[in-house]
Amino acid sequence: MSTPPLADLTATTLTITGHNGDEIEAYSARPHGDARRGGVVVIHHMPGYDRETKEIVRHFAELGHDAICPNLYSREAPDSSPDDAAAVARAQGGVPDDRFVGDVAGAAAWLRALPTSNGKVGTIGYCSGGRQSVLAGCHLDVDAVVDCYGAFVTGTVPTDFPLKVTNLVDQLPGLTAPVLGLFGAQDKFPSPEQVEELDAILTKQGTPHEFHSYEGAGHAFFAVNRPSYNVAAAIDGWERIAAFYGTHLAG
């Protein structure tokens, strides 16, 4: 077996089969070499399938995983800039949960079909994608779930919200894969109380999980191009993600 230098990878845009058999765009990054490894589905935040999210996809390849990020706005705004696509998706009410789950199922199947796959797949999402990562874990056969400050996993969604978002409390019994939750202690969505509620639910139903809340960090502390970026939280968070996937996607 060849052993390429650490961090050698190939990244490319491709088409995968998503919900209802739709062809959707995705961005993948894969380490060089033929070592068997787990795959990671990266779920982009609401502002879209942007440069920084693609950096995250490459980061996972550098960590030794095959990684893919489906463009959740492929249908609304193909070939558009990420911000324009996000604006269209928002104006149309957001991404429906069932369609999202179908798209992640397609991404997971793509990962498992790779010759390098060891059969294990994890999900990770940020912000709205954090909620969606949990949502995917509730409905799909995945091996590890990472939730980075996803709002409305628990808690009450105001009734006048035009976007099609609900909390996931009634779906959480489907979540059996191990969960890593990374949160900002100063965040309001999700609030520390909502994080505690999720912690209690997962404990009660026996879902393995570890949560970390960073003092001094608010929402979006992983976002390298935003004022919310928090170096200490982001570095510790990346280390915990690497260890979590290193354990649960090994094999």
Binding site: A77, S80, D84, A87, S128, A151, K188, F189, H219
Partner: protein
Amino acid sequence: MCTYTTVKDTIDGSAKGPDSSWFRATDITVYFDHPFHAMAEHTLNIDVTDPAKGPSARVALELTAESARKLVAAIQTALDAVPAEIQGLTA
């Protein structure tokens, strides 16, 4: 935080958008959430669009809450300065 809150309405006017081209503006979307470009954690975001012309037919504003209130006040002041008949409104 992701507020998810989105206010939509239809409008009639024009906007100068991508490639310095004018387009007829038909829709607005207003929300307070993470900006794409502005250096603030949250901003009041306004998209002036023509969905029929595709996603790029959009003029986007990302304003701090204080700036957004100034814009609202400026618009109100400008409108209040002219008689209703000039605005096309019935008196």
